[in-house]
């Protein structure tokens, strides 16, 4: 195995991981706040199509990102309103967002299907750092979206575990009644985190069409939204573990394509399916209740908070 191979695998793995991580980390925040948005796939598709549309029509990347963020805020507010204020079932609402996002994205994306944007976030090598053997060309020759993620990861770790706001977040999903009686506004906090998670979700989509690949096709996220959901669960809501998981999946999907070139006997579908198989198995082993173990799952996950029904 040559160093070049490792570098190229790592390179692609990182791009893959970054696209999934935006949504994953966003959803980690959402679930720690006590809610669950299963519509990530729909959010991702909306982000992907919005970013791409603006890139094609306006040929302006920053504008594309702004548009994506606005879409994220909008969809986040809808989800938040429905599940927090109206206290609707979160799984059902998530499915509605999923379906609507899938449909709407395909609908507005038709016009750019097969159209080339010729505009994406190109990899920007960081002078000096990218000369480091093996790691350099892979870690430090990525698009700006990846570099932003490099910051988001440690920032989110610090936020969750070291700041007062993070402490409040951890309490939000665990025991909102305690927070409420201490005078914090549980509803407002949850709104904020849901919208944040939504914005991160659509950003994942934008990563796909504006840096991982540079085209649009209907349903192109092919389940990455669901992989993000799974990653959230078996990362035990810990961003660092989520990173490792995402990198692992990235590596698996890349290696699959590479091995395929050498071993023709195994059909390509086996490799395509590998990330999902891995997720499935990991899910069983990390979330399965094999014995009475204390779960680190936020205690009030999925239970809408109603002060009256205390």
């Amino acid at each position: 195995m040559s160093a070049d191979l490792i570098t190229s695998v790592l390179s692609v793995a990182i791009i893959y991981a970054v696209t999934v991580l935006y949504a994953t980390i966003g959803e980690i925040f959402v679930q720690r706040a006590g809610l669950m948005n299963l519509g990530l796939e729909g959010l991702m598709l909306m982000g992907a199509v919005t970013g791409y549309l603006v890139a094609v029509n306006q040929q302006n990347l920053p504008l594309a990102i702004v548009a994506v963020i606005l879409v994220g805020i909008g969809m986040g507010l809808v989800f938040a309103f429905t599940t927090i204020t109206l206290k609707a079932d979160q799984t059902v609402t998530g499915m509605a967002i999923l379906t609507f996002g899938t449909g709407l994205s395909g609908f507005i994306g038709k016009s750019v299907c097969g159209v080339s944007a010729n505009l994406m976030f190109e990899p920007i090598p960081i002078p000096g750092l990218y000369r480091i053997p093996i790691l350099g060309p892979s870690l430090f020759n990525q698009s700006i979206l990846a570099y932003v993620m490099y910051f988001i990861i440690p920032l989110s770790m610090i936020y969750i575990y070291k700041t007062r706001a993070g402490m409040i977040l951890r309490s939000l999903g665990e025991n909102p009644a305690a927070l409420d009686s201490a005078g914090y506004n549980v509803f407002a906090l949850r709104y904020v985190y849901v919208v944040f998670g939504s914005v991160m979700g659509v950003m994942s989509g934008a990563c796909i069409t504006l840096s991982y690949t540079n085209f649009w096709s209907d349903g192109m996220t092919s389940g990455k939204g669901w992989i993000a959901v799974a990653l959230v669960v078996f990362s035990r809501w810990n961003p660092l573990i989520a990173v490792l998981g995402a990198l692992l999946f990235g590596a698996i999907s890349v290696i699959g394509i590479d091995i395929q070139m050498y071993i023709h006997v195994i059909p390509s579908q086996v490799f395509s399916a590998l990330p999902y198989v891995a997720t499935f198995i990991a899910l069983i082993f990390t979330t399965g209740n094999f014995r009475k173990k204390r779960s680190s799952e936020p205690g009030s996950l999925c239970i809408p908070y109603d002060r009256e029904e205390r």
Partner: protein, 507 residues
């Protein structure tokens, strides 16, 4: 010395229930003041008014001599008033320090863990509490968690602290430690209110005692002047010293159920039932008296089969059912009127017919080859409705919409159906109006006349004395004593409920 808090003529009514009636209470700095009374006497309501959760219908509150209005919990916090509730408001995945800091009014960006931990260590030592600030809440025992709740208030600068039944979750040793802490807080100039129903504890640890009954202040006295008699009189009153039977019943000698040295653990892992033994004979109504939370629920669940007995045996008509499943016990003739009426006894979203068949839907009575027989189900339901005068809005409506009394009647009807060997009735008339209460009492009495043994768990001495043949008193999970109803009175039972063994009537 001037009182720090004065509550004058406080009244509060909820619907038709007068929870507080012209209550006067004054609190001085440096004292431990106990609020004594049974459940429903109005203690919690009064304190909820003081902490801003409720607003009094009439009356005034004075803080350090000045008239104040407490509209919301925030107002109470501003006055440095804090309360430790029975159900803790702690975040189990966070540490002690984090919980306390969350509750404080600090607004720093980064949590200065070490500094807070140091401050908490100092505070806890000062008030004789032993707490590890870096421990996570879920690792702590209930007693330790309670200390965290107290520290929360102290850290925020509370000067008036209210504790709601603090020793309910503690062992006697822990309770002593807690009162030592309260004493050092009082010596520091703070004012402490302890809500309790435990007479002995209150006599030993409080400076002054106010007794509430049915929303009225019965008595206020310095602890030095308190005697068990004076307190009991205030708490249970003079409601009939002795009770006569309404009818003389013949109870056979045959034992319907024998509980032998049964022990059980509650959901928190603590021993809730300690080595309890008693029998109930066929046709006998055996009462269990005691303040709720002393093991009654766990005892009922163990007999019904919902909870495993950690030790001991249960014999039903001679058969050992200790290891039997719920289903098997039902088949053997054990019925259970759960105190958790809408959680386990009935399914609120299902209609009456759906609830009537809950236990027997598999039997030939209600189904053939897996198909429900509507006719017999509806017949049964209508039979119950007529027999027990159950008022409902329609056969197809969910029972959750029925009134509490009618729900209970339905539950009782179902459980009594089929002449069970034993009925476990846990707080069967709790929260019901007079009419429903009367009817259910009659139903249970009739069942006993038919030969069913009844285990009647209640907090109301009146009910127990009216209905039961014998009464066993549970306190802290132990059977303090068993008496024939004819040979005892409220006073004796009341004292046993407070934990006194070897009480003799009239002593």
């Amino acid at each position: 010395m001037e009182p720090v808090i004065e509550m004058k003529n406080i009244s509060k009514t909820f619907g038709s229930v007068a929870a507080n009636r012209n209550v006067n209470l004054s609190l001085y700095p440096g004292e431990i003041h106990a609020l004594l009374g049974e459940n429903g006497a109005g203690k919690s309501t009064l304190m909820n008014i003081l902490t801003g959760i409720y607003k009094a219908d009439s009356g005034e509150i004075f803080f350090k001599g000045k008239k104040t209005d407490i509209h919301s919990p925030k107002d109470a916090v501003k006055l440095d008033i804090g309360m430790v509730h029975q159900h803790f408001r702690l975040i189990s995945t966070l540490t002690v320090a984090e919980n306390i800091s969350l509750y404080s009014d600090k607004r720093d960006f980064f949590v200065k863990t070490r500094q807070i931990e140091r401050e908490i260590s100092e505070c806890s030592k000062r008030f004789k509490m032993d707490v590890d600030p870096s421990a996570k809440i879920w690792q702590l025992s209930v007693g330790e968690q309670q200390r965290v709740e107290i520290l929360k208030l102290l850290y925020r600068g509370a000067q008036v602290l209210i504790l709601d039944e603090p020793s309910a979750v503690l062992t006697p040793l822990e309770a002593d430690g807690m009162f030592r802490t309260l004493r050092s807080m009082a010596e520091d100039g703070k004012a402490v209110i302890v809500i309790s129903h435990k007479m002995h504890e209150v006599m030993k640890n409080a400076d002054r005692i106010t007794v509430l009954k049915d929303g009225i202040v019965e008595d206020t006295m310095p602890a030095t002047e308190a005697t068990i008699e004076r307190l009991t009189k205030g708490v249970v009153g003079n409601r009939a010293f002795e009770h006569k039977y309404e009818e003389k019943r013949k109870i056979s000698d045959e034992k319907a159920i024998c509980i032998k040295h049964v022990s059980a653990i509650n959901d928190k892992g603590l021993t809730a039932v300690k080595d309890i033994s008693f029998d109930i004979r066929t046709g006998e109504i055996f009462g269990i008296a005691g303040v709720a939370g002393n093991g009654q629920r766990e005892l009922a669940e163990v007999i019904a089969g919902i909870r495993k007995a950690a030790e001991g045996e249960i014999l039903l008509k001679g058969n050992n059912i200790t290891k039997a499943s719920i289903r098997e016990r039902i088949n053997e003739g054990v019925s259970f009127i759960s105190e958790d009426r809408l959680g386990m006894g009935l399914v609120p979203d299902l209609d009456m017919t759906g609830n009537v068949i809950l236990k027997e839907y598999r039997t030939e009575k209600y189904s053939k080859y897996g198909v429900l027989q509507s006719k017999s189900i509806i017949d049964s339901t209508e039979h119950f409705i007529k027999e027990y005068d159950i008022r409902h809005g329609g056969l197809g409506l969910p029972v959750g919409l029925m009134s509490g009394g009618n729900q209970q009647k339905l539950l009782v009807a179902r459980e009594i159906d089929g002449d069970p060997v034993l009925i476990i009735a846990a707080y069967p008339v709790r929260g019901l109006d007079i009419g429903a209460t009367e009817e259910i009492r009659n139903t249970l009495t009739e069942a006993s006349l038919n030969g069913t043994a009844v285990l009647f768990i209640s907090e109301e001495l009146e009910d127990l004395f009216k209905m039961c043949d014998r009464i066993g008193v549970l306190c802290s999970g132990e059977m303090i004593g068993i008496r024939n109803v004819q040979e005892t009175n409220f006073d004796e039972v009341g004292r046993m409920m407070a934990g006194e063994r070897e009480v003799h009537k009239g002593a």
